[in-house]
Each structure stands twice: as C-alpha cells, then as structure tokens.
C-alpha cells in the first residue's frame, strides 16, 4: 500500500493535471481540500505518536484553519492547520507534528501549523484579530471531536459574544488599508483577486460578520438566515466561481501564490477560460470586463450587506429625515433612502429615477432594499421612460449636482444607467488592454465626471477659474459622461458623437447645447493631440486648432474635458510635461479666438470656400493634387484670408514657373509681375521669391529708386519660406511706356539678387536730386509702437508718419539692420500719411523682447523717418 504522502502526491498531481487540461474547473477548491483532508486522516491513523498520545489520555484534534477551514484551497494556497490539545501540550506532540507535517514541506506545500491548547487559542485571538478570524473558519478534520466542540463553544461564549463591535471596527480598518494598498479591484487593470476591494476578502468579511453577528456557520446560512436573498446568494456563488477560477489559473501560470492578476498572464487566462477574440473585441478585454463586473458585484454586495445588517455608528442627521417625512414616496431609515411602498413604482416608474435625485439632494445612499427594488423594476424603464421629459429633467439635475459621481455610481450599480442609456450596454465594463488605461470605460467616464466635480480641490486655480467662467457647464458634464461611448475600434470620438446625438435627441435636449456636447465628444482628443503632435510656435497650427474650436466657451470646456479625461485615464496620461504643452496651446488658441478675425466661423468658411474654388480653377493647370495640398498647408493663415481667389491662383502659376529648383534655399529666382488696374489708375506689382531678411526693404528701395510711389502693400511669408509681396503703386512717371520702367525695376531686382547692385549708394545719389524727395514740413510727429500682447507669435510694429519717397525703404532697412525679420506687412497710405504694420521676429524667429532693445529700435526708426535721407 502506498504511504499517505505518496498517495497525496499522486492525487494532487492528478487533480492538477485535470485542471490544466480543463477537465476540472469549478470544483477544484473542494476537490483539493478533500485530498488534503484525506491525507491528514490517513496520516493520523498510521501515526504511532498519535496512538500513544490517546493511550496516555492526551486527546487532541486536528483542526483546519483559514482558507483551508473554509474549503477554499486554491492552486498554491497556504495550508493552515492546528493540533489542538485540551490543556497541556505533551512532548510527544512534536513527534506527531514532525511525522505528519514534514513530508508536506518535502513535496513543496506551503504549510502553516501550530500546536495549541484551548487557552492559547483564546489568548491569541484576543490579542490578534488575524488569529480570531482564522479560528472563525475552523473546521474539524480528525482526532477527538468533543475537544473540537469544546473549543467552538468556549470561543463562542468567551469571545464572539463579548465585544463584536471591536471586531467590526477592526474589519473596517482592514478595508480602509486594503483600499489604500490594493485599490479597487473592480476596475483596476491589474486587480488583486484576494485583497483588492471586490476581491475574495470582501466575501470573507461577509462570512465572518455573519458568523459573529448572526451565528451563520456555513456560507449557505447567508441565505437561510435571510441575510442575502436567494438571487443574491446565487449571484455571489457565480461571481466567486469566476474569481476562484481566475485565481487558480493565475497561481498555476505564475507557479506560486500570487494574487495580483498581472498583465503578462491575462491573455493566457482569458483563453483558458474559453474567451475568444472577436473583431475589435479581444478575448482578454472580454475576460477582464466580466471579471471586473464580478468583483464590482462582490464589492457592492459587501457594502449593502454592511449597511443593511450592521449597527451603524453614525446616526442619520435628523433634519434630513424631517425633510422627507412629508414625502409620499420615500423615507429615510438608518441613514439610507428607500421607497415607501414598492407598488407605487408600478404605476409611476419615474420613481426609479426620482429616488436617485433624492439621494443626491440629501447626500445619502439608497438602501439595499431600494436598490433591490430598482433592479427588480428595471423592466419598467421602457422607451417611454427613456424619453420622458420628467425623467430626463431629473437625470440632468443629477448630472449637474455636485454629488453626481456618487449618484451615477449607484445608478451604474443598479443597472439603471444602462437601462436609461442602453448605448452603455456592452461597453461599460470594457477594458482597453494596455498599460495606459487603468479603468474600464464606464468607470473611466464616471471618473472623468468626478474630476470635474471635485475641481475645486485641485491646486491649479486656472481650472477652477475657467469652470467658474462657464455660463452653463452642463454640456461639459454630459460630454464627460459620454465621451468614450463610441469606443469600439477606430474613430471612437466621431462614433461617440454620433451615438450621443441619438441619446440627446431622445432627451429632446436643447439644440444649441446639444451641438456643444457633440463638438466636445467629437474633439475630445484635439487639444492633447495638437499639443504633442504639432508645432506650437507655428501660428498656422494653432490657428487651425482655433478654427476647429471656433468659440471661447467651447475652448474652455474642451480644456477642462482634456484635463479630466487624462486624469481619469491613468497616471501616465497627464503629467507636468503634458500639462505644460496643453496649457501653452490653450492660451494661444484663447488669444486667437479673443482677437477674432483669424478663427471666426466666418473666416473658416471663407477660407474653405476659397480653397475649393482655387482647387477647381487650378484643375486646368498641371498641379498634381497632393502637391496642391502641400501648398495650401504652406500658405500663411492671413494670406489665405486676405488674398482673393484669382490672386492665389496667379501666385500658384508663378510658383510653377519658378520651377522645382525654387525650393533650394540658395535659389535666387524671383518673379516680378505687374498689372494695370484701370479703374483705380494704379498698378499692382507681385513679387515672389525665397524669403530672406531684408528682401522687403530691397524691393521698397528699388521702387523708390524708380520713382514708384507705394500706396499699399501686403507681404506674406509662407511656411515653406516663399515670400509673396503684393504692392499697389501709383502710375510710373512715364505713362506712355510704363513697360520700360517695369523692365528697369526687374533689372535692378536681378542686380540685387545677383549681389552686384549697391542700393544704398544709388538711393543716396538719387534723393539728392529728386524733387519728390524734397523735405516738407512735418504736419504731425511720426509715431512708432511695439506691441507684444496682440499675438503669441509675432511682435507687431506700427509706424505712422508723413509720406515721402523712400520712406518705406528707410523704415524697413532700419528694421533689417536691427536684426528684425518681417514676416507680414500691411502698408497703407492715406493722403500724405502712412500707416505701416509689420509682423516681425528677430533672426531667431522669436518675438522682440526687452524694453531697452525696443526703445533703441524705436529711436532709430523715428530718427530715420525725420532725418531725411538717412544715407
């Protein structure tokens, strides 16, 4: 016959292999416990030391403790056992233990054993609640059964009945420290199956409390004693099966006792449990969704068990009870709210939503009984309920309430939220399988809302101020709740907006607010993506972002949503580095929207129409399409806004004529075009070339040299470095042969580009003899102003002065000499006054900073304007 230990080894190996083949699943813990029990009983029978102890009147009992006592042995669980004596512990006890327990260590089991008498048990239990709970789970295995019963009775009389309150206090503290250390397993991505909130420990707490307060001896008593309903008990069994099965697989894969369901095993366990990949819904995500749902149910059951059945230390505040006393529908009991009569729900299903409103108003949770009733009557929440004006109004009131998070949490738990917004079905518990997202989607949505609700606790006053500035934050709250509702595969933001549109339509939700909600959902990633993927020093990137947003309130809501969404996603999604970038973008977009013009809806529409007309007209030219997109992308925002379609097309033609080599930085090609404007008696000159500092000044100089008076000018620099300068000028002096003059201008320009034309010298010679250059008395003092506030991207220099030939050259030359690069300029002349606006950078591409520097440039400008000519 095989020895007990060999038999144990064989049976255990057999059981484990059955499990890994999937032939044994849910009965594993029971089967394993039985195998262990069998070993101990056999070992006891065949143990000489045991016999001799009985012979010498030292009866003893073998008692299983803890998880082994509860018959919950998992794959690598510890096995806790005690040899119990009545009074003294005889010396043979050591021999007994050695024979029985040492072989277990040899085959690698984690065994915890103790040899105690009854008094030891009581003393230790008083000192340490851990020992106390392990004894609550005590189970007789073999030996002297009267002795075991003696222990149980004494334990009951001397300990359990004495101060149950202390034990309850201890459990509460344990729960708190578990929350801190292990977190809420019902939504963490790597939940701790045992100690996490919603883990097996919650179930143990229920058992212990039922034992201590209601004398429940076995789990089934939970139902028999009326502590749980039949449905709740069945639900609990089902949830525990899921958790245990997962735990066994986890132990088996990890090869040791490990209760944290870490990432690397999740895939394999999902497959073991029979989950299979579906399109867009991987097996592992289905698995985690179900597991979280199970743990959330355990968590919730424990909470309601505690609230319903245990003495509450905190009494409900009186005034609240009074406030409700005249309510025909609800009452407050033990600090919880409940229905007065369940049958009322049948005739008025709106009460299902109503009770949550009351719960938010008084800040007290629903009673276990009322939660049960809500679940039971969910079928009453039909289509009519879902679009009932009153129900929707109550729902929106809840969303707007500061306690919205707690209330929605209860609505999730009872299933009402899913019933009211069926779009949440199948997505609530959905997990995103990456290390970035810590919570499943439903939880994440609630968390996002919670961050917005607790904004005032944040250190960052900016967010608090922004929220306070919103005339109506409701769209933001709705967007927070629904922003990920389209999360099934790609483009979830767009799909989410479409799904939410259906929901809000059903709500008969205000049209304008609805647009805001949909916008926020559709663009909830815009700020974060732009901040990290676009150049924030590039005006066009920011203007495009501003155009997509188009409205200051929307921007503010979007900023808050971006923050809350990221915070609720997990620790990796929001840090100071990202916060920095998003804030920079927020302010830049805010400034653009405040200044209007570049990003108004009208501007956006105008530019869009323009581009499609340009595209049509260019169709005949030989621009390949993608090339055109690249060019549109390169065009400066102001250029697109201010330049007529015909002109844009012409510029594109010129660009093509300049040829492919134009993009080479050393390229010296340029193109000068002149067109007569008959109606105004003026000419338009267009110059296109690769931009370089001083270019604008050179053209101004050459025009002055040829006696061309500049009436107005627009100069733009595209993002690819193409300069487009458009001048409206007076007729040349030679009206008969203007083309000769334009030819000369072009020749001079070519000279400049070739570097063999001394413009300052020529101008100096010229002004000496020119009648136009004669100095007139100044009617007004010239003015120059630096503005660094109006734009985040440029310093704006404004100059007002009396006009004269060569003045523009002098001004731009002065800017050039002071290392200032002109990107955009608007030159206009009215009567004899010029008003010039320059958008400038220094040579680093930065705004002009420093008071001294600005003052000195200003002085230079004013001097050159007044002392004529400066050469």
């Amino acid at each position: 016959m095989t020895s007990p230990i060999d038999e144990l080894k064989q049976s255990k190996d057999h059981l484990f292999s059955l499990f890994s083949r999937g032939e044994i699943t849910e009965t594993f813990q029971g089967d394993y416990t039985e195998i262990m029990d069998h070993y101990f009983r056999r070992s006891l029978q065949e143990n000489a030391a045991g016999e001799s102890l009985f012979a010498k009147k030292h009866p003893f009992a073998l008692v299983a403790l803890g998880g082994y006592g509860r018959k919950e042995l998992c794959y690598h669980s510890d096995i806790d056992i005690m040899v119990l004596f009545k009074n003294g512990i005889p010396s043979e006890a050591a021999d007994l233990a050695e024979k029985m327990f040492f072989p277990l260590w040899d085959i690698g089991l984690e065994l915890g054993h103790a040899t105690r008498n009854i008094r030891d048990c009581l003393t230790l239990s008083k000192q340490d609640f851990q020992v106390f709970t392990s004894l609550l789970d005590a189970r007789f295995i073999g030996g002297d059964s009267p002795l075991y019963l003696n222990l149980v009775e004494t334990f009951q009389k001397k300990l359990i009945c004495k101060k149950p309150g202390n034990f309850w206090q201890w459990l509460k503290e344990m729960t708190e420290s578990r929350t801190e250390v292990f977190g809420d397993a019902s939504y963490l991505l790597e939940p701790n199956l045992k100690e996490g909130i919603g883990g097996l420990r919650d179930y143990h707490h229920i058992l212990w409390l039922a034992r201590v307060f209601f004398n429940a001896r076995v789990p089934r008593d939970l139902e028999y004693l009326g502590l749980l309903t039949h449905a709740e008990y069945l639900g609990l069994e089902k949830q525990l099966r899921m958790i245990w099965l997962t735990r066994n697989h986890l132990h088996s894969l990890a090869g040791r006792k490990n209760d944290r369901l870490i990432f690397e095993y999740q895939d394999r366990i999902a497959l073991h449990l029979g989950y299979r990949n579906k399109p867009g819904f991987p097996a592992v995500e289905q698995f985690l969704g179900d597991l979280h749902a199970a743990m959330a149910a355990v968590k919730s059951l424990y909470r309601s068990f505690v609230i319903t059945h245990l003495p509450e230390t905190k009494q409900p505040r009186k005034p609240e009870a009074d406030t409700l006393s005249d309510s025909p529908d609800f009452r407050i009991e033990h600090g919880q709210i409940g229905f007065k009569t369940a049958t009322d729900i049948l005739s008025r299903p709106v009460l299902l939503m109503n009770i949550f409103e009351k719960s938010s108003q008084f800040g007290i949770p629903l009673s276990l009984e009322s939660k049960r009733l809500v679940k039971e009557f969910l079928y009453l929440a039909d289509d009519a309920f879902r679009s009932s004006k009153e129900v929707v109004r109550i729902f929106l009131d809840i969303i707007n309430h500061p306690r919205a998070f707690d209330i929605l949490d209860q609505m999730f738990e009872t299933g009402l939220l899913e019933t009211f917004v069926p779009e949440y079905k199948g997505i609530k518990d959905r997990i995103q399988f990456d290390t970035y997202h810590v919570f499943p989607i439903g939880r994440h949505a609630l968390k996002t809302l919670q961050y917005l609700k607790t904004l005032s606790l944040e250190k960052d006053f900016l967010f608090v101020d922004i929220l306070a500035d919103l005339p109506n934050p409701e769209p933001l709250f709705l967007a927070a709740l629904f922003h990920d509702i389209g999360k099934r595969g790609k483009d979830h933001a767009l799909r989410g907006a479409a799904i939410t549109a259906q929901i809000l339509k059903r709500f008969y939700y205000d049209r304008d607010l609805q647009k805001d909600v949909l916008f926020l959902i559709h663009h909830h990633l815009l700020l974060a993506e732009t901040a990290t993927r676009r150049d924030l020093n590039d005006e066009k990137s920011v203007v495009q972002c501003a155009r997509a947003i188009g409205d200051i309130h929307r921007l503010k809501m979007l900023y808050l949503l971006t923050w809350a969404d990221s915070m609720a996603t997990g620790p990796k999604a929001w840090n100071e580095w990202t916060a920095n970038l998003v804030r920079e973008l927020f302010f830049k977009v805010l400034h653009i929207l405040e200044k209007g013009k570049l990003a108004t809806p009208l501007a956006q529409k105008k530019v869009k129409e323009k581009l499609s007309r340009v595209r049509r007209l260019v169709g005949e030219m030989n621009h390949p399409h993608h090339d055109l997109d690249r060019l549109f992308e390169a065009m400066a925002p102001r250029y697109l806004l201010e330049t007529p379609v015909q002109a844009i097309v012409r510029h594109l033609e010129i660009l093509q004529d300049l040829g492919a080599s134009f993009n080479n930085p050393e390229n010296t090609n340029f193109c000068l075009q002149t067109n007569k404007n008959q109606a105004e008696g003026s000419w338009e000159i267009t110059l296109m070339a690769k931009d370089r500092p001083g270019l604008f000044s050179d053209i101004a100089g050459i025009l002055a040299l040829n006696n061309i008076n500049i009436l107005s000018a627009y100069i733009y620099t595209w993002r690819d470095g193409t300069a487009v300068d458009i001048f409206r000028v007076t007729d040349p002096l030679d009206l008969i042969h203007p083309e000769d003059i334009w030819k000369r201008v072009e020749k001079d320009m070519a000279g400049i580009f070739a570097g063999d034309f001394d413009l300052p010298e020529r101008l100096a010679n010229k002004t000496r003899s020119s009648i136009l250059g004669r100095q007139k008395p100044h009617s007004r003092a010239p003015k120059a102003r630096f503005d660094n506030d109006s734009s985040d991207f440029f310093t704006i220099v404004e100059v007002f002065a009396d006009d004269r030939v060569g003045l523009l050259y002098d001004i731009t030359q002065t800017l050039f000499r002071n290392d200032i690069n002109i990107t955009i300029a608007k030159i206009s002349t009215k009567a004899d006054q010029i008003a010039d606006i320059f958008y400038v950078h220094d040579l680093e591409g930065q705004k002009i900073e420093g008071k001294d520097r600005m003052e000195s440039i200003k002085k230079n400008l004013l001097r050159v304007i007044q002392t004529h000519p400066a050469h």
Binding site: D465, D469, R533, R534, N537, D538, R583, G845, Q846
Partner: protein, 112 residues
C-alpha cells in the same frame, strides 16, 4: 564612438526617430524634459491670476554611435527637427570612452 544628445520639439520625435532608424541606428533613449534656451517660458494672466511658465516642454534623445555614423546622424536630426521657428533645439556631441553591453560583456562598437 560618440554620444549625440539632442533637444527637439515634441512633435518632431517621430520624424527624427524614423530618420535615425533609416540610418541604421539600433537604439536610442527618449526623455520628456523641460528647460529653456533662447526660447524662454512665458507668463499668462487669467482672471487676474498670473501663471508663470518657466520651462518649455521638449524631448531629449540620446544615442551612442560609431564615429562613422555621427556626421550623417547629425545631419538627419538637423533636417528632421528643423521648422525654422523658434525652439527647434540643439544637438550636442560628446566623446564616449567605452560602451559595455551588460548581458554579454561585449565592448566597443560591438556593444553599440
């Protein structure tokens, strides 16, 4: 052997990474960093409260290369990270005395 340390704009990371990979660079280290150079932080005012941003968020890439590759790598980084706007960043070249692969103990170019 040289070490290249480069500070670039966050949105240029992918471009630079791909450029270096195309050169045959086998590994690099990326860090989210904050600092300032010519491009300073700035101050914002919202509802009377001031929000001072002292540092600008940037990406730092560190890569150690055989000497022959260094010139090309610098060129690639310069090309890919350039926008022409302020804050395009910098490239630093540092001599590297030795490289040791921890797993195998290989040294020199074999360990790069």
């Amino acid at each position: 052997m040289k070490k290249i340390e480069t500070i670039i704009k966050p949105f240029k990371l992918d471009d630079v990474k791909e450029g270096l990979a195309a050169l045959g660079v086998k590994g690099l280290t990326v860090t989210e960093v904050k600092g300032f150079g010519r491009q300073r932080g700035h101050r914002e005012v919202y509802r009377g409260a001031e929000y001072q941003v002292d540092f600008v968020s940037k990406i730092k890439i560190e890569v150690v290369l055989e000497s022959e590759l260094v010139q090309d790598a610098v060129q690639v980084i310069q090309e890919k990270a350039r926008t022409g706007q302020i804050g395009d960043g910098k490239i630093f070249l540092l001599p590297v005395e030795e490289v040791i692969r921890i797993r195998t103990g290989e040294t020199g170019n074999a360990a790069v």
